[in-house]
């Protein structure tokens, strides 16, 4: 279609201008970073604005509410400690969703994957309760990852083999996960007479240390545990995997342009299964925090929609591990602050946080259109 595509000259005027100063490579990356950050920030502001109007409508002071929300999340040590604790599962699910997105898949089944993983982890922790910690912790962690991966592989295979859409299948498998976990819990692992739907506790050897046991100054009551460290490591590992290994390259190529991936000798079907498996494994790691680090058992309904919040985290974090980390900390802070809003405001409850989450997703999702239109004038398809 095009004969003259002389656009490149003007594509990055600022970058070109700065190039002699800092090296073209860095300016391009800087510009990219600025562009990546703009929309998420606008989305957050817009969400807070709408949330604020809602707060005002029900008769509380938005400014005070937000001050309370943020202040209580950043206090030391409880605020920070709990914020990091609440962020931990969101890092895992955010990474899980982001991994799917990078391969062009929408894994909204992280919720089911983490449910299955939590149950399986508890099962391993109960069944091998007498093993030593050196055995049990790696074993249970492995079970967490493997069971989440396995659960996610099913819709991956169904998509690769039959072309059935992963969204519907992962939704269905969310419910199947809860059903199966609950049935198995009641049949095999329930304490006699326990009114709550939960398993027996896992063996002591499977408990992973809390941060308070390692770093003095953080009180032991804060359930922040080693899983947070694992989560941060997972971010780094995911970055390395996606951008520094040939496997990651193949996954990203498939997500970016399956036709070109095929041309480059990459099996698109294989990448779909692989990406789903890795995604599910990441979702499964939520069990490390929840089962091995906090509750020491599986119980029904332990996850306040971590899997779905993961979508918000991934979108806000631009499907990049560093972004996911920051976005998860942001949502972790909201969760922590929400508890205080619940207690100390007249009318606003912690559900404000859910609403803010939903609004952020709505705004970030709607932003795609601006990006696309900008991209269109830029790249003249």
């Amino acid at each position: 279609m095009s004969r003259i595509q002389g656009y490149a000259k003007n594509a990055y005027p600022l970058a070109n201008f700065l190039a002699p100063l800092r090296g073209a490579r860095y300016t391009a990356q800087l510009m990219k970073l600025i562009r990546e950050l703009t929309f998420p920030l606008i989305a957050i502001l817009a969400a807070f604005l709408v949330g604020g109007i809602l707060v005002a409508l029900i008769g509380d002071d938005p400014i005070q509410t937000y001050a309370l929300l943020i202040g209580s999340a950043l206090s030391w040590p409880d605020g920070i400690g709990y914020t990091l604790f609440y962020a931990t599962p969101l890092i895992f699910t955010g990474l899980a969703v982001a991994m799917g997105f990078r391969c062009g898949l929408l894994n909204i089944g992280a919720e089911g994957q983490l449910t299955v993983a939590a149950f399986a982890t508890a099962w391993a922790g109960i069944s091998f309760a007498n093993s030593s910690a050196w055995m049990l912790i790696p074993l249970t962690c492995l079970v967490a990852i493997a069971s989440g991966a396995l659960w996610a592989t099913i819709p991956g295979v169904l998509k690769a083999r039959f072309g059935s859409h992963e969204v519907i299948n992962t939704i269905m498998m969310n419910f199947i996960a809860v059903g199966v976990a609950s049935a198995l819990t009641q049949t095999y692992f329930k304490q006699q007479g326990d009114p709550i739907l939960e398993t027996l506790p896992i063996g002591d050897g499977a408990h992973i240390p809390r941060i308070g046991q390692i770093i003095p100054g953080i009180p032991a009551r804060i359930p922040l545990n080693m899983a947070f460290v694992v989560a941060v490591l997972a971010c780094a590992l995911m970055y390395v995997f996606l951008w520094r290994t040939k496997w990651g390259y193949e996954i990203r190529a498939t997500g970016a342009n399956p036709n070109a991936a095929e041309y480059g000798g990459i099996s698109v079907k294989k990448q779909i299964v692989l990406a789903m498996a890795v995604s599910g494994g990441l979702a499964g790691m939520v069990a490390i925090n929840e089962v091995l680090g906090y509750r020491y058992r599986y119980y029904q309904g332990f996850s306040p929609q971590y899997g779905f919040t993961g979508i918000a985290v991934a979108l806000l974090g631009r499907n990049h591990p560093a972004g996911v980390l920051v976005a998860a900390l942001f949502f972790g802070a909201l969760t922590r602050g929400g508890l205080f809003v619940d207690i100390f405001t007249e009318k606003v409850s912690k559900d404000l946080v859910l609403i803010l989450q939903a609004l952020v997703i709505l705004f970030v999702a709607a932003e795609a259109v601006f990006r696309r239109r900008m991209g269109k004038t830029e790249s003249q398809v």
């Binding site: 279609m1 595509q5 490149a8 520094r244 040939k246 041309y263 480059g264 790249s379």
Partner: protein
């Protein structure tokens, strides 16, 4: 009847229509010819209200008319049959035809009454279409006639047909032309967009030739020849003739025997030797795409028959990756769809296809990408092929078409290839880059590589190829010496002129 006056339309920086003037006489069959991207479809989509022109006007029956939506066009009696049929596969013929112009009341669709009218229209024009049939059960030819009925049902006086024969078999084409003639007899005006010259001569009364968004000429069909039209159509000036020494062909690198693909390729056989460029000329859509993809390993094994020998080895069962490993490089015809990861960096694009092995990954692990060597590779491509801006971190999207193309060619040269499959290497590329790419291809040949070059640009293949084959309807219709054959001769072959009469 219909007149386009000074129509100009830009998409981004691309000038798709540049002061286009077309006059269509009432009751005529008017052909608009040109290569892909010449701007034919854009001009007609503007006439149909699908796009809005940036400037210029459309006259219907001599009066300027504002046509902003297909609705406006339909009201003025203009109908259009798109290249990709605009039919809902799961619905019936009648449902498709009445869509948007439903008879009956708001709460009751009179599909039976519509069926009657459709049946009588179908009989009037000998279309033989059952209004109750479901679209997905119809043949392509029948679907096309449904599209015609759709326009006739809306009382179109002017029918715009976008590449109507692209999807038809030769018999269907004959039948289809009968229908068009019948329409002309009934006083309809027909505009047919095509790039097949034999069809232009067979059916049209007048013809307008477009190239690069401009109208290059207007002829009465009776007063022109295929050769003249071919020259107008593909005659892009190549500013510099390519300087090259005579080829020194070596051993046979690729030997293709009776390669067939259902409905696409029909018993294609040829050989290419080291150190020569074999050109394939032909109007687009005659099997070039399929041939190249089949050789590159991108067509399912089960769809092909025949044999492909590469360097003495049968490769038709090998995957795309395995073929690349043997030294078959591939520059795809659609660089954005096939050849690039637009949002990935130039550096990442420079390793697509070899990303899994050394030197893209470090030798020790066999897994980790080796950033330094990838960047070095990208730098070699950028420098060796003058990719601008010379920044390996920019996304490929940020490059112009010519630079994207140089990036792909550079990447494939790095393989290094024993055989290069290259398709439309200079499409949408500026003059400077064209020359550059041509020189590189010749240099590659001189270094002993075999090159299979497919191009719709006749000037390009005749200038570069050492031997030239012409493809038509999925078969090789002849081979000529590009230094001796005239454009007229080749043009005739491209138009199917020399095809044998016992075709099935």
């Amino acid at each position: 009847m219909l007149e386009l006056r000074n129509i100009t339309k830009r998409f981004g920086n691309v000038l798709a229509n540049d002061r286009v003037n077309i006059v269509v006489r009432p009751g005529s069959i008017h052909a608009i010819v040109g290569e892909n991207g010449a701007g034919k479809s854009t001009a007609m989509r503007i006439a149909y209200g699908f796009y809005r022109a940036d400037s210029g006007e459309i006259l219907v029956d001599g009066k300027p008319q504002p046509i902003h939506t297909p609705h406006d066009a339909i009201a003025l009696g203009i109908g259009m049959v798109h290249q990709h049929f605009m039919l809902v596969d799961t619905m019936t013929v009648a449902e498709n035809i009445v869509l948007g112009a439903e008879p009956g009341t708001l709460i009751s669709l009179d599909i039976r009454g519509a069926g009657k009218r459709i049946r009588s229209l179908s009989e009037e024009f000998h279309l033989a279409i059952d209004p109750g049939a479901v679209i997905e059960n119809l043949s392509v030819g029948q679907q096309q006639r449904v599209e015609l009925l759709k326009a006739l049902y809306r009382q179109a006086r002017v029918l715009i047909l976008d590449e109507p024969t692209a999807v038809l078999t030769p018999q269907e084409v004959d039948e289809f032309f009968q229908i068009l003639r019948r329409m002309r007899e009934q006083g309809k005006t027909v505009i047919i967009i095509t790039h097949k010259l034999d069809e232009v001569l067979a059916i049209s009364d007048e013809v307008t030739v477009m190239r690069d968004g401009r109208v290059l000429g207007h002829r009465k069909t009776a007063e022109t020849t295929a050769a003249e039209l071919a020259r107008l159509m593909v005659g892009r000036e190549v500013l510099l003739r390519v300087q090259k020494k005579p080829a020194v062909p070596g051993r046979v690198i690729l030997s293709v025997r009776r390669l067939s693909m259902k409905g696409r390729l029909n018993g294609i056989s040829f050989v290419i030797r080291a150190g020569e460029i074999l050109g394939i000329a032909g109007v687009e859509g005659n099997g070039q795409t399929e041939l190249i993809e089949a050789l590159a390993g991108l067509v399912g094994e089960s769809e092909l028959s025949g044999s492909i020998d590469f360097d003495g080895r049968e490769i038709s069962r090998l995957s795309a990756r395995q073929r690349k490993e043997l030294g078959i490089a591939h520059v795809p015809e659609d660089r954005q769809r096939r050849g690039l990861l637009l949002d990935a960096s130039v550096a990442e694009n420079s390793i697509l296809g070899v990303h899994y092995r050394e030197p893209a990954v470090t030798g020790r692990s066999g897994i980790m990408l080796d950033d330094a060597s990838i960047r070095a590779r990208a730098q070699r491509v950028i420098e060796g092929f003058d990719v601008r801006p010379a920044n390996s971190e920019l996304p490929a999207r940020a490059l112009s078409g010519g630079n994207q193309q140089k990036l792909i060619i550079g990447r494939e040269f790095e393989l290094p290839p024993k055989l290069l499959l290259v398709s439309q290497p200079t499409r949408g590329v500026d003059i400077g880059a064209i020359e550059f790419i041509h020189r590189k291809l010749v240099a590659l040949r001189d270094s002993g590589c075999a090159v299979l070059l497919v191009s719709a640009e006749l000037e390009e293949v005749t200038a570069i190829a050492d031997r030239l084959m012409v493809i038509y309807a999925g078969r090789i219709v002849g081979e000529v010496d590009p230094t001796l054959a005239t454009n007229e001769e080749i043009g005739l072959m491209m138009a199917g002129g020399s095809r044998t009469s016992d075709e099935d």
